[in-house]
Symmetry: C2
Amino acid sequence: MGCVWLKPLRAASSDSDLVLDSASRHSTLQFQPLQSSIDGSFWAKLGNLKLDNLRLSEDPQQITGFSSAANHADIPGSLLVDDRSFETPAPARQKLHGVPGELRNVNTLERFKALHPLERRRALIQESADRIWRDIRSGAAEADPALLSRFLLISYADLKLFRFYYWFAFPAIKPPQPVMVRSVQPMQQALGEDLSKGVAESCNQWLSSGGGRPLFWLLRIAEDNSVESVPLSSWQEAASSGERVVLAYADHSNLQSNPGWLLRNTLLMSAARWRVPDLEVACLRLRRGLVDTAASLLLSVSLPHIPEGWGEAETPAAFGWELNSRNKTGHREVDLGESMDPKQLASAAVDLNLRLMRWRAAPALDTARLAATKCLLLGAGTLGCAVARVLLGWGVRHVTFLDSGRVAFSNPVRQSLYEFDDCLKGGKPKATAAAAALQRIFPDVESTGVQLCIPMPGHPLSEGEVEKAKHDVKQLEALVDAHDVIFLLMDTRESRWLPTLLGAAKNKLVINAALGFESFLVMRHGAAPGGDDAPASSSTINCKGARLGCYFCNDVVAPLDSTVDRTLEQQCTVARPGLAGIAGSLAVEMCCGVIQHPQGVRAPAACHDPDASSSSADSALPLGPVPHMIRGQLGGGFAQLCLVGQAFRQCIACSNAVVTQYREKGWPFILQALQDPHALEDLTGLTELHSSADALAMMDSDEEEESEEGLLAAPDQASSAEQGDVKDDWLEL
Amino acid sequence: MGCVWLKPLRAASSDSDLVLDSASRHSTLQFQPLQSSIDGSFWAKLGNLKLDNLRLSEDPQQITGFSSAANHADIPGSLLVDDRSFETPAPARQKLHGVPGELRNVNTLERFKALHPLERRRALIQESADRIWRDIRSGAAEADPALLSRFLLISYADLKLFRFYYWFAFPAIKPPQPVMVRSVQPMQQALGEDLSKGVAESCNQWLSSGGGRPLFWLLRIAEDNSVESVPLSSWQEAASSGERVVLAYADHSNLQSNPGWLLRNTLLMSAARWRVPDLEVACLRLRRGLVDTAASLLLSVSLPHIPEGWGEAETPAAFGWELNSRNKTGHREVDLGESMDPKQLASAAVDLNLRLMRWRAAPALDTARLAATKCLLLGAGTLGCAVARVLLGWGVRHVTFLDSGRVAFSNPVRQSLYEFDDCLKGGKPKATAAAAALQRIFPDVESTGVQLCIPMPGHPLSEGEVEKAKHDVKQLEALVDAHDVIFLLMDTRESRWLPTLLGAAKNKLVINAALGFESFLVMRHGAAPGGDDAPASSSTINCKGARLGCYFCNDVVAPLDSTVDRTLEQQCTVARPGLAGIAGSLAVEMCCGVIQHPQGVRAPAACHDPDASSSSADSALPLGPVPHMIRGQLGGGFAQLCLVGQAFRQCIACSNAVVTQYREKGWPFILQALQDPHALEDLTGLTELHSSADALAMMDSDEEEESEEGLLAAPDQASSAEQGDVKDDWLEL
C-alpha cells in the first residue's frame, strides 16, 4: 500500500525496519499520497443532477469529500466522495471529516481531455491553492481546518454508457523550504504507555463526539499528563499556556514513518500563522474505529521559516494531481455499466434519453408525468403495435392491450410487436403476445394483454350473448377507469362507439387513429361534456373555447355492423404499409403533447390562425400546442393538414344526453344501444333531424363514402379529406 | 364406398352378393354418385387468379373437370379439379376425361351462403341443365360428349386464412320415366371370355390413344366379334349397319350393379336423340390403368320413351348437388392453412395483402417489382429499423443493413428491431442483430448485416487507417452496386457524403432521412448527373425537368467532422420518439412511389402547382406522384410541407465534376476527399465561390444553424424549415 506519489518515497516501500528514528531524522518529510475513493452513488447522483439541473452547464459545483484516518495496517484512509457529497450543508458523519471540494464536470470527453495538458492542470490546481493560501493568511483555515484540505475533481460523465472519467487534485502549497523530520516514532513509544493512552482517549472523544469534527485539532497536554482536545483556533491560548501543544491529525497514511498528504498545508499554516520553528504532530491511526497508540505516530518536525511577505504577491506553487491506477500521470475511468444489473441499465438508459430532451430542446418537459401515464390500447394491430412502441420511446411504463384476435401470418411484417413464431399453431392471442413483446423490449414496462371483443352497436346479441356482453362491458369500464389515456386503434367504426362514450363519461383522454388505403385520421376527443357543446345548427366555430368533438361528432347516423359481407381486401384492411407508422407516431405525439399541457384533456386545439397562434402561452408548452385532428394522405403529394371541430350537441357517443343516460342507467342503457342503435338516434334527437330533407341528403353522401372507404376503418372525414372537400362543421386550419 | 346419394341405393351398400341378374332385373336403374376431388393446386391457382385478374369480379369462370374411371375395387373414380382446370383449351390428359364446368367464386362468405337456399340452388343447377338439354337436342353433345357431364362449382376462397368453401353440382336431367334395368352382369360373364377380351382391347386403345378422349363412345361389335371403338357421333352409321352397338362409358362407379352418375344424361340423350327403347352399356372400370373385364359391367337398360316436344317449352327438372362429407346437404370446406408449411403460409399471407391493394385501391401496382427491389440501409438505428419494417410491409424481400455500432440499452425502446437481450454483454452488433430480427419477423426475407463504418470527409486517417478505409470503401462500392435503393439513415451529416456520391455515380435511387429534435427531412436524390444541373446562379426553378438535388446540394461547405466534442444529448441524437416512425415511413413510401414510377430515379417531383399537378399522367401512377423532399415538424402544430430543389452544379457530392473525378480516379480521389475536404471545394469551384462576400454570408448563417441543430443530425434545411424560412434555392410547394 505504501505507494509512491509525486515525490518518490523510496525508503517507505521497504519499511519493515522498525528503527525509524535514525533512518528518518533530519531528512525531508515525505507524505503518503491521498487516495481518492468514488462511490457509485456519487455518479448516480451526478447523473441525476446533470440531467435535471445542470444540463449543459459546466459551472463548478461545490461538493464535500470525506477524509478518513487509516483503520487497518495495510489499508490507508482515503478521500471518499459519494451521493452525500452533494448535500448542503455538508453532512456530519462519524469518523469522516468533511472537506470542501470543487467539481468541474464538463459536457464532452474532448473538453475533459482538453483539461489534461500540464499547463491547464497547473492553472486549475493553482486556483484552489489560491483559496487555501488566502484562507491560511486570513485565519479562516484556523477557524475551519477543512479549508486546508480543499480538493478539486474534474470529470466527464458519459451517462449513455455509464462510463465516468475523472481526475482528483489534492492541492498542496509548496513551502519556501521543505519540512524536516526531527523524529518519528510510534506514539506509544514516543509518549510512553500512560500518556499515549490519555492522548488516545481524548482523541477518541474528539472523533466520536457528534461526528464531522475537523481532521486537525490540538492536544493540550498539561504537566500532570492530562490531555485535552481543542480546536486549532485555540492555538494562541494553548501556546501561551506553557502546556505541551501537539497538532492532532486523523491521518489517512498507514505508513510507519510518513504522515498523509493532507498534513502538508496544515504544516505550512503552522509555519506561516503560528511562526513556530518546531512542531509535534500526533498522526492518529485507528483500529476498529479507535485510536491505536502503536499504529499512530508522534512526529516531530522542523518547520520552514516563512519570510515576511512571502506569497503575498502571488500564491506559492501548488501540486497534487492524483496518479491513475497504474501510478502514471493521467485520469481515471470507471465503467459502472459493467457492474450494473442490465435491467437497471436499460431503465436508466431509457430515462436518460428523455431527460436529455430537457437540456436544450424541451426544458419544461415533465418526464415523470409521462412515465406515470397509464395507457389503454384498444386494438393490437398495425396501429396498436406502432403506438405502443412510440409510448415506450416516451418512457411510458404502463401499457395495456385489448384485442380479441390472434396473430395471423400476414401480421408480423406490418404489426411491429409480432414475429413469425407468434403465428404458429393458430396464432397467439394478440393482446398477450403484444404485452409479452413489450417486456422483451423493455423489462421495466408493466404491460398486460386483455383478450376481449368490444361490444358494438348494430351487432345484435343472442340471449346467450347478453351475459357475456355485460361482463365485457364491465371489464372495459374497469379498464377505462384504471387508465389515463384510451387509444382507439381498431379497424371498425362501430367498435369505437362504446370506448368513445366511456372516455367521455369518465373524462379520459381519448386518442383515435384510423387508416384508409392511403389516408389517415388522428384525433383526440374532447373532455367530458358539460353543456358547452356546439348547438346542432352552429355555423361558426373558433378553435379555442368550445369543447372539441369526438370521432362520431360529425355523424348523423348511429354505427351499424360493418363487418358483415366484407370482401377480402376489406377484411385485411388494406393500407399502404407506411400509414400505420405515421398515424401511430402522430397519435402518441398528440397524446404526449396533451399530457404535457397544463389543461390536459381540455387543452385547446393548436390553431394556425396567425393572430391567435403564437401566443406566449403556447410557446411555454413543453411540446408545443396540440392539434385536434390531423388528416394526411400519401397519394397525390403527401399532404397533411390539421383540423378542428367542436363537439356536436346531438352526437351519439359524447353528447351530454348520451353521457347522462349512461351515467344514470349504466348497463341497461348500453344494452339497448347495442341491440338497437336507432335508440341512440332517438335519444339525441337525430331521428328528428333525419326527417328533414337536409339531413337525409347528408346521410346519403355519408353512406356513399362509407361503402367505398369507410369499411376500411377510414372514417368518412378521412375519405372526404382525400377528395379535398372538408365538411362544413370541421374547421380547416 | 357405395355411399348413398340423393336417391338412396339401399341394396348397393351390402353388395357382397354376386348374383346380380335376378336382383336388379326390371328395377329402376340407380347410379353411384360422383365424388368431387379438389387438389390444393386448384385453390392456389384460384387464389392467384383472384388476386391478379378477377379481383372483385364474380363473373362465372369456365373451368375443366377431369373425370376418371374407377381403377380399384374399393375406390370409385372421381371428378378432379386442379390447377390445370384453368387452362384453355382444356388439356388432354391420359385416363382423364375433361368435362366443362363453371366456377362461381364469390367475394364473401355471406354471399356464398346466400347461394345455399334450395330455390337458389335449383335455379343455379337449372342453368347448367338448360345448356346440357340444349346441347342434347342440338346434337352438340353427340359431337362432344363432355358437354353431357357439364358441372357447376360455387365457392368462396378465404385467401387470408387459406380456408375454402365450395359446393359441386353434377346436373342430371330427370327423364319423363326412370331408366329400367334389364340386366346387369360383369362384362366377362355377359360377353364371354373372348368377346370381352376384344372389347377390353378396343377400349384400352381408345382410352390410351392421345389422351383426353371423351368418357362416352360407341363399341361396334361385328358378327365375327371384332370390336371397334367409334365416337358417339357415329351412332346413325353404326346403328344402321346392323352391327351390335354398345355404349361405352369410362365409369367412375365401383359398384357391382350400378353405373356412375354421369351416365344419366347420356342415357337421356340416347332416348331423346336415338329414340331406341333398349341400350347396352359397357361400364368400363380399370385395374392398373387397363380395362378389367371382370370389374366392368355390361348393363342392359330399357330407356324411357321421350314424347315428341317433351322438354321443349322448358327444360325438364335437374338435380345433382353433391352432399357434404357427412352425407348431408351442405357445402364442403377445406382448410389448407393447417397443412401448409408455416413459412409458405407467411409468405403467401404477406403477398396477399399487397396484391389485395390492386383490387380497388391501386390496380396498377406492380408488387413483383417491389418484391425484387434490393435495399441497402446505411444505419440501423431508429430510422434504419423503422425503414426496414415498412419495407417488409411493402413486400421487399432483400434488405441489407450497414452499421458499425452495437445495441445499447437505450436502443430497444426506440429502435424497433432490437430487444433487451440484444443489449447484454456489451450489445450485439446492430447490423447483424437487425438482419436477424427481420428473419424472425418474416423467414422469407433475405437480410444481411454488414458491420462497417462509412469513411467520412473531415475525419483524417492515420497511416494505418488508410488501408482499412480503402477496404471499407471497396466494400461499400460493392454493396451499392448490388442494391437498387440506398437509404441514408445515419446520424451525422458527413457520413452521408460518400454514399451520396456513390449513389449519384451509379445512378441508384438514394433516399435520405434525417431527424432533428422535433423536425425531420425526408428526400430522394436526383439521378446520375448528366450536365442538366442548375447553374450556380440559377434563380428560377420549375419542379419538372431539371435533375433533382441531393442532400448536399444547398451546401457551400464540404462536410467536416461533427462527432468530435458532442455533448451527451447530441450523442444520443435526442429526438421526439414519434419522429422516426413518421420519417421512416415517409422514406419508404417515397421509395415505393419512385419504384412504381415509370421514370424511376428520374421521376419528376410531385408538384402542387394546381395547373400542372392533376395531369392524367400523374393519376395513372400506381402510388401517385412522389415529392422531392418532405419536411415536417411536431412542435407548433404538426405541419408538413413538400419542397423541391434542383441539383446544384457545384455540389460537393453529386455534381458532374465530383462524379466524373470519382469515376475516373476511384479510390485516390476518395482518399483525397477524406483527408482534405477542402479539395472538394476546390474541385467544384466552391472555394472561388467562398471568396465572394455573398457566399461568406451564407456560410455564416449555415454554421450558426449547425451548431444548434445540425449536430443532432438535422440538416440545416430541416432546422430552417422549423424557423419557417426556406432557402431561396429550394422551391416551396
